[in-house]
Symmetry: C2
Subunit: 449 residues, 2 copies
Amino acid sequence: MEQERYIDKNMHALVSDLQKLIRQPSVSAKNLGLEECARLLVQMMKKSGIKAEVLHLGKKVPPVVYGEVKSRKNPHKTILFYNHYDVQPEEPLELWNDPPFSGKVRGNKIYGRGSADDKGELVTRIKAVEAFLKTTGDVPCNIKFLVEGEEEVGSMHVEEYLKKYQKRLSCDGVIWEFGYVDEKDRPIISLGMKGLLYVELSLKESVRDAHSSLAVLIENPAWRMVEALRSLRDMNGKILIKDWHKEVESFTREELGVIAQEPFDEKSFKKEYGITRFVGNKKGLEIRKAVVGDPTCNIAGLSSGWEGPGAKTVLPSKASVKIDFRLVPKMDPLKQLSRLKRHLKEEGFGDVHVHMIHGEAASRTPISDPFVKVVKKAADESFGTSIVSVSSAGTGPMYSFSKVLKAPCISIGSTYVYARIHSPNEFARIDLLKKTTKCMCKIIKKFST
Amino acid sequence: MEQERYIDKNMHALVSDLQKLIRQPSVSAKNLGLEECARLLVQMMKKSGIKAEVLHLGKKVPPVVYGEVKSRKNPHKTILFYNHYDVQPEEPLELWNDPPFSGKVRGNKIYGRGSADDKGELVTRIKAVEAFLKTTGDVPCNIKFLVEGEEEVGSMHVEEYLKKYQKRLSCDGVIWEFGYVDEKDRPIISLGMKGLLYVELSLKESVRDAHSSLAVLIENPAWRMVEALRSLRDMNGKILIKDWHKEVESFTREELGVIAQEPFDEKSFKKEYGITRFVGNKKGLEIRKAVVGDPTCNIAGLSSGWEGPGAKTVLPSKASVKIDFRLVPKMDPLKQLSRLKRHLKEEGFGDVHVHMIHGEAASRTPISDPFVKVVKKAADESFGTSIVSVSSAGTGPMYSFSKVLKAPCISIGSTYVYARIHSPNEFARIDLLKKTTKCMCKIIKKFST
């Protein structure tokens, strides 16, 4: 395949483009560098031969980048690449070996916030399309790109973009923004994503911080928050909110079959994270079932009082907690939110303010969809092997895509499973970027025939 | 009394000196500006006629300021003023109406970190001594000053200073660094202080922060910290650590008599802090008994994961909590520390790291000590009335003073009870600074005869 030779020859350009993207910070949680990154991306896509432009919903909403290449020989089939140009916050800074936006290359790795999630993935898609255009002057089917800037804060507006530009974005299959490659270099073809309910709980007890000697008289909101949190789940991680699991369905026989075949290297996972056991002492199949299908209640942030060095004897006036609940199919984020509120009220914490930062439902593409076979074959050829997974443990707006575009969504990509995404020293592996770029070419080609 | 006239005439100088002290930040928790503040203070004391110098223990320990005036006519009796030149951290900055180190005067109030605690108190003592020197050229008895720079971080070295300079610091009575004035302008003569055990608990579960989708597998240290905290006390504030109250003694009949007479304005306290009830629904005498004699377990700080704006879906690798336990007489901070550690171990939290930031024992000067009468009489004359209290709810190194110097320690001063010490917009009331300066003159005079 001449595209593969093109990719081999032009890896330096891929790496250099990725570095350029990393060096443009684009932290959606801080509203930092988003417009700049979108413009840089348009420029880069145009250089690759893709018709690209920035689309806006309004001044306060980060733009999306839309890209398009019409196929001359096959204009009736369309593949859409969904990606995002925003990144997670770079903190904690002190744990990075290089500045977080350096794009430093060391051997086979490119370091930096966004190197893997999602700028690394994004360049593989762009370079795959470029490979066709530069070698044949055409693409095997229509190509569309939707690159958003709010994925790391919950893709709040992607559904609105999808609806507004539904016609332009119409397609027959969606390649999702990420894809993991496991510790044995096997790509994981993931067919689903969990949903998410992200809330901030806050509690104020008095009008201002007080001297802590007054703890005999004034209620401490940190203590009450501890009580409130303690009521949400038991020590094994089971969520205790009434009806929380009401709509959750068991796995189908087909899903269970796929889950049973998914490999999971417990030893290397434990080593990577420096842990000696799994939550609730899970083992074997339990682990794989939990990753695909367990709802979670995770404390993402805790904050109250004096967090600086040394001793401050203060009685805080307020406490706040960020919690992300992962949801599985059939769980409605808004319904779960009202259950959470009801629970807090019933447990005596009606004064805890619950602010929903975002919510999105889970989604799964059926194992039997023909698009699954296409991707599986391309992946097997590019990586030598591949693994199909019923659902990722992570969250993305897949539900919006399948609802609005009515196309199957499949996740496949270049992200090494221990690439430290969302963590300090995030990196992308250059060998995997290359394989994935080739895999994208094969997907486009197989999908077109 | 000609000293009173001197004080009336020179209030502008008192205010201006206090502003100078406020404008020199001296935050011991951050090791900020301590040497500078000590030098400024020496200069200021010398200007008032006090022989002053900086004493050191070592390079890493903030210096104390020692001041002395020998009495010519009465060199056999000595009063010691204990104060501190360090202040609490100024955070949270956004809640200050003026910059925290501005020393801004508005009407009867001087604002700024340290304006009340303890730079305001300190200038009243200095100006009282100055009043005698400038009007009579002598002082009624020997005067000594010990002004330390670590009070707000637990006075870690004051006992060492007391021991090293025991002879120089010898005295017959100690006037403590602060004293509250209640909402009816009655000074509170406090004869004791609670002790303190300040610890930081920290827990690390994995080697680094992870993507929160992994919460199905990796233990969340914030959750385990919540569990650990929850085991320390019940919802009414009762500490559940085994043997925590073992050495605690009931009040004596004499103490109970004094406590029963202490006023406490529940309504104005509630209004000031914007609360509608007291912890455990305490009422009347219960409140006063708790302030004087209840041990506490207060969360002074909680920290884990993402505390910035918006959503970060992170599974934190560590969580930490700062707790201050107030202790009452007979509770040994080190013994309580080992009980806390034993408790955590027995409850399954042996992996929670416990770091003692500091500990000090409680102390009470007996109600029957003759020094109490002297102070009470001076206060009644200066303020029209006064209240004797068995113990403050706060903590200070009084135990070290009474142990090393074997002198009675009494707390009396100018700090309005709602002066927001340790909080934003701390202030000192100029009318109370004046009354207190006069009161100090009266104490010195009555003590000398």
